[in-house]
Symmetry: C2
Subunit: 696 residues, 2 copies
């Protein structure tokens, strides 16, 4: 693999139109796209109108993916595995939509999702100066963190009051810039169509992140307003031909997180501590969920989406860890860092940045010391690892809401800021099913993990276990908690501090028992790691701007970005891997594996093989710069017409977390022609195909 | 669960015939069986003749299980999962005997095993005095360890020279006693019969360690001498009726390891460090092997036996860890330890033992500090975790053999002592297949684990990886090594030090690179942990003898033991679990799971259902005290006739590692009647059934 950041550093920086990046690299802000490069390299003019149209046609799935409007009647296209969160929640022992698929033949049949929120980015405003002005240089990290949190909450609240739109201040370039994003929010989202998981995820875990691939990883929703399909001004039209070899394409979506600016010290941390510890957790969860699922079909159904997520993360992290353990990649990063530090040293205007790398290195030590405790007690997205049950997350949200809402907006934990409350309540009051037995199994494992990490004689562990074994305690907590009842949640949430304080629900009592410790470690991570990093990285970014110019893009932050590239195969082990695959290849791939799970095809696909034009492409690859979170992004051509649907990257793309390459790393898409062929010939979904293509 | 050691401690110790143990507890030495208790409780006289007959009918599988002679023509009965090691090794892409089973209809068809060694215990001699005399009280742990190793090697060598029998000095009561065991060795072992793995392991991982169960977990081998079936004097006859409810039964087998004498400090170590770290490894291996197996059938075949072993260990360890995290069990252990320490304090003759607990506690700290490094570089059975490939094990054995064989017998690493060389060579020169791709995948994971544990910048990690990523390095090592060739191994082994030193095989070079470090950490574990523990536990055992009398049994050591108990159901969640299951129940269990994997039945069993007497028992439970290693043990009645075949324990039995209970913990057996019914009606194996039962 060729790692392009190294080539750039080694070759000097003045030769290409977008210094600091290379070729088709970049997850670009819509406010700062590589217009010159696109013009020069591809003779394409990304006009403001074109950009606005694409931006407003793009949809963020708050459950963790991307999508796009594909009809004037609110039709949204995404991946099956992005829709899976909804599919799981609306399924039951009787209807397994996640496994078997779903097809609403009329609008009346469209199935309302439980708690799915979609966001569309409506406007972007640079608020860097105001945020930076609030944080004085002489503030302690602790104070600086509080001041920044306060000014961001204030800006968001003002914007919400003024526009009624969801308003988030986004941190870009690790603190180099702050932008206010306003989103139109859709919470009445209905499922229109999903194929069988078998064909959406054909090849299963073994084929995940591999290419050639043959996955029909698609899913369609429709957004409603006032109980009617929403009227959408900006939506993407369907390409007549679909993606062609060599074609310039764009990907508009929400890459979740990259670490390309990360210093060596942070990469070392990720390599030796962050990734290994995360993988240790993923391995134990995968084994737990596999064993639970193997017991019977209903268990398997309940655990299905979570298990997919765990396996997917595991495979991605194994790939990321392999990149971090590649001495060549690390050598290039070292070279790059040397240049940045030299620049800071020689340029008097950058003198404040000179010790930024050391400050980051110091923060990694604190991070290493507290990360296990933080993961167990507080956790990032996905909850506290030591209390692995949705009921604990609910209990803690209720407990904290009572405390936080009583404080002024600017001093609350960030998730409780006024501008976020509506979304938070939408999740908290979700009617998504909670399965007692499943929660018991997860919590038993969580409590065991807690005891293993902290030691059986640790005071907190003893307090939490209350003289019982992890399984006994988990059973008593899950059986005893009444928080499965959404009405009770509403009562507690609206009742405020007194009501929650009087509540003796065992799960709330547990949350209460550990909250002081959880907040303490969160504060350490926020003020001694994140804040220090934020300030230091902002300075590193400044050095980078000074060296490479500002025509660059920030690390991914699960906000809207534009990537571009060419539809293009690649060489691997001396063989050419063609840019696209076809239905014919899919049937062959299945046969080569004796049609055995996970290489078996749904019955409908076996029976209807003859109806299909087997030459129709199903998947293709391109060089666009994507990462997790881009799933479901539309792939469009110069005319902003849909030619494909991002669903994965190949194994080589897993290094993209740290550095872009277009040699072998590829983004994988479902081909637009395959989507329509399947809808018409396999699913008899003529109405949906017509809505997409605009004609019968 | 009722934990009997607690009851004994609490109730005083003078009421039962075998003080210190309770009811059907005990993995008894054949030289010290509970004759009085059996007489009093069951009116059974375990005469020396009866004991000798059972002892010599019992067989140890050196691959890690038990078995028994069941005909005068050398027929050996064990479990399918004990035979799996051989079944895996003699299988190929064309013949998957492990999955599909095997049946030799004539003696000529019996299939020779690759490297299976069976041992039969012929004599037992107490050599405690001689061993203890060699270790002087004023020796440093280092010296004491060397002195003990030397005298043991000397005794073994003398015995081997005198008798020609495999001779092992066995450490009992953690160093309280030393016995010289002489074994007759069989190395020409041939496979006679194995059913499909599907029926042997019906219910798979979900049903493993569960009851009710329906597994035909059986396998038959025959030992040969001079190319003819061996003539066997002591073998077990077949019971006409098989196991009956309430009946007294005996289990003669080789329990692998228990920790019942373990002090609180060691239990804390196991709970907080030993078990969690082992489980972390098992989880990563399970995920690795599952992912590898899912890619295609041939991968699945290659990884099958290892994956079973990993899943089996994982489930057992999860159960063991749950026991350690049960505060009630720990409280009982605490109570017990208090009594022992009080006894040592009050009894002047035990004054040397007074600080034994503290010495053990100190050793646990050293163990905790070095255990990760030891596991990675040296490892116990199963090889060095950081170099997870059979080729490394072979390379290291060759490297060390050259060094060790040049030393006097008494000063070698224990596995290279003269009396063990024949068995070592038998393994080293095994023609068992080695699959390059599989070895690469395992080694990549091992090297990654090494880097994660020690850190990517660790000097040893850098040396080992040689500037490459783990996968690149693993590929180059496995592809480059010529040690797959047994002829080369023989040449290197017989060539001695010079030949090996000149050898540039990359795997030998790797072994050479890490050997100094590996030996260093092994020495720390041996002299600062094992030796200290050995001396201290010998003193704890002395206190125990003083308190409870010597009518007790030592912790398990993978040597022959006699257990006993009653065939008996139990109560669980308010329901009675009957003592036996039947073929009818098996078909029902399959149907309840929609005959889906792993609850599907082999085709033959579906087709021949009508031929079977469905009331025939297939599995049953008894209260005998067993643990891992007992798999394949015969279950016999008072007349020493086979009534069953041990193959598992229930979930409650997983706490038996630390304390016996007969309330719910049960040993699981295949019923003798089910074995014969299946052989006759399903497999048309009349000749085998006749050989077992002695009549057509």
């Amino acid at each position: 693999m060729k790692l392009l950041l190294f080539l750039v550093s080694a070759a000097g920086l003045l030769l290409v139109a977008t210094p600091g990046v290379f070729g088709d690299e970049g997850m670009w802000l819509f406010t700062n796209p590589p217009r010159d490069y696109l013009k020069k390299q591809y003779d394409f003019d990304a006009t403001p109108e074109w950009l606005e149209h694409v931006q407003k046609s793009s949809v963020r799935f708050n459950s963790g993916g991307s999508g796009s409007f594909v009809s004037p009647d609110g039709l949204v296209m995404t991946n099956h595995h992005v829709g899976a969160d909804c599919l799981q929640k609306i399924s039951s022992e009787k209807h397994n939509y996640l496994r078997d698929g779903f097809h609403a033949r009329t609008r009346a049949d469209e199935h309302k999702c439980t708690d799915l929120e979609l966001n569309v980015l409506m406007s972007i405003e640079d608020v860097t100066e105001r945020v930076k002005a609030a944080v004085k240089p002489d503030m302690s990290p602790d104070k600086a963190f509080a001041a920044r949190r306060a000014v961001m909450a204030e800006i968001e609240k003002e914007s919400l009051d003024k526009t009624g739109l969801r308003s988030d201040v986004i941190t870009l370039y690790q603190g180099g810039q702050y932008h206010l994003y306003r989103f139109k929010k859709y919470t009445d989202v209905r499922l229109v169509f999903a194929p069988e998981q078998q064909i959406a995820f054909f090849g299963g875990d073994p084929d995940n992140f591999e290419y050639p691939r043959y996955d029909l990883d698609m899913c369609f929703f429709r957004v409603y307003e006032n109980n009617k399909p929403a009227k959408i001004e900006h939506y993407l039209k369907w390409s007549k031909s679909g993606a062609k070899d060599g074609e310039l394409v764009f990907v508009s979506g929400h890459p979740g997180r990259t670490d390309r600016l990360a210093t060596l010290a942070e990469l070392d941390y990720l390599r030796d501590i962050g990734f290994p510890f995360l993988l240790q957790r993923l391995n134990r969860l995968e084994v737990l969920l596999m064993a639970f699922s193997a017991r019977n079909e209903e268990n398997a159904r309940q655990a299905r989406e979570l298990l997919f997520g765990v396996q997917n993360s595991r495979k991605a992290r194994v790939g990321g860890l392999a990149a971090l353990l590649d001495p060549q990649l690390m050598a290039r990063k070292k070279e790059q860092e040397k240049k940045l530090r030299a620049k800071a040293k020689e340029d008097e205007s950058l003198k404040d940045a000179r010790d930024a790398w050391d400050r980051i290195a110091k923060a990694q030590k604190i991070r290493a010391d507290h990360m296990h405790y933080f993961t167990l007690l507080e956790g990032a997205r996905g909850g506290a690892a030591g209390f692995n049950t949705e009921l604990f997350d609910i209990a803690r949200t209720l407990l904290r809401a009572a405390e936080e809402k009583a404080k002024p907006n600017s001093r609350r934990l960030r998730e409780f800021r006024d501008s976020n409350l509506e979304s938070l309540e939408f999740q908290l009051f979700s009617e998504a099913p909670i399965y007692e037995n499943f929660e018991k199994v997860k919590l038993t494992d969580g409590l065991t993990f807690l005891a293993n990490e902290l030691g059986g004689d640790n005071a907190l562990v003893k307090k939490v276990l209350a003289g019982k074994s992890p399984s006994e305690r988990a059973y008593e907590l899950v059986s005893g908690s009444k928080l499965k009842d959404v009405k009770l949640r509403k009562k507690l949430y609206n009742g405020g501090k007194e009501t929650v304080e009087a509540c003796q629900d065992p799960m709330i009592e547990l949350a209460r028992q550990v909250d002081a410790e959880a907040r303490k470690v969160r504060k350490i991570i926020e003020s001694e790691v994140e804040e220090v990093q934020q300030q230091a990285y902002a300075q590193v970014a400044k050095v980078k701007f000074a060296l490479e110019g500002t025509s660059t893009y920030p690390d991914a932050t699960f906000t809207l970005r534009l990537a571009f590239g060419q539809v293009k195969g690649y060489e691997e082990d001396g063989k050419h891997v063609p840019f696209e695959t076809t239905f014919a290849g899919m049937y062959k791939h299945s046969a080569e594996h004796h049609n055995r799970e996970p290489f078996d095809l749904p019955k409908r696909w076996v029976e209807r093989k003859d109806r299909l034009n087997l030459k129709t492409p199903i998947n293709f690859v391109c060089t666009a710069d994507i990462i997790g979170g881009n799933s479901g992004s539309p792939v469009i051509n110069r005319q902003a017409e849909v030619v494909g649907l991002i669903f994965d990257g190949n194994i080589q793309s897993l290094a993209l977390d740290f550095a872009y390459s277009d040699e072998q790393a590829r983004a994988l898409s479902v081909h637009s022609a395959g989507i329509v062929e399947a809808l018409r010939k396999v699913y008899d979904a003529e109405e949906l195909a017509a809505e997409l293509t605009g004609h019968k």
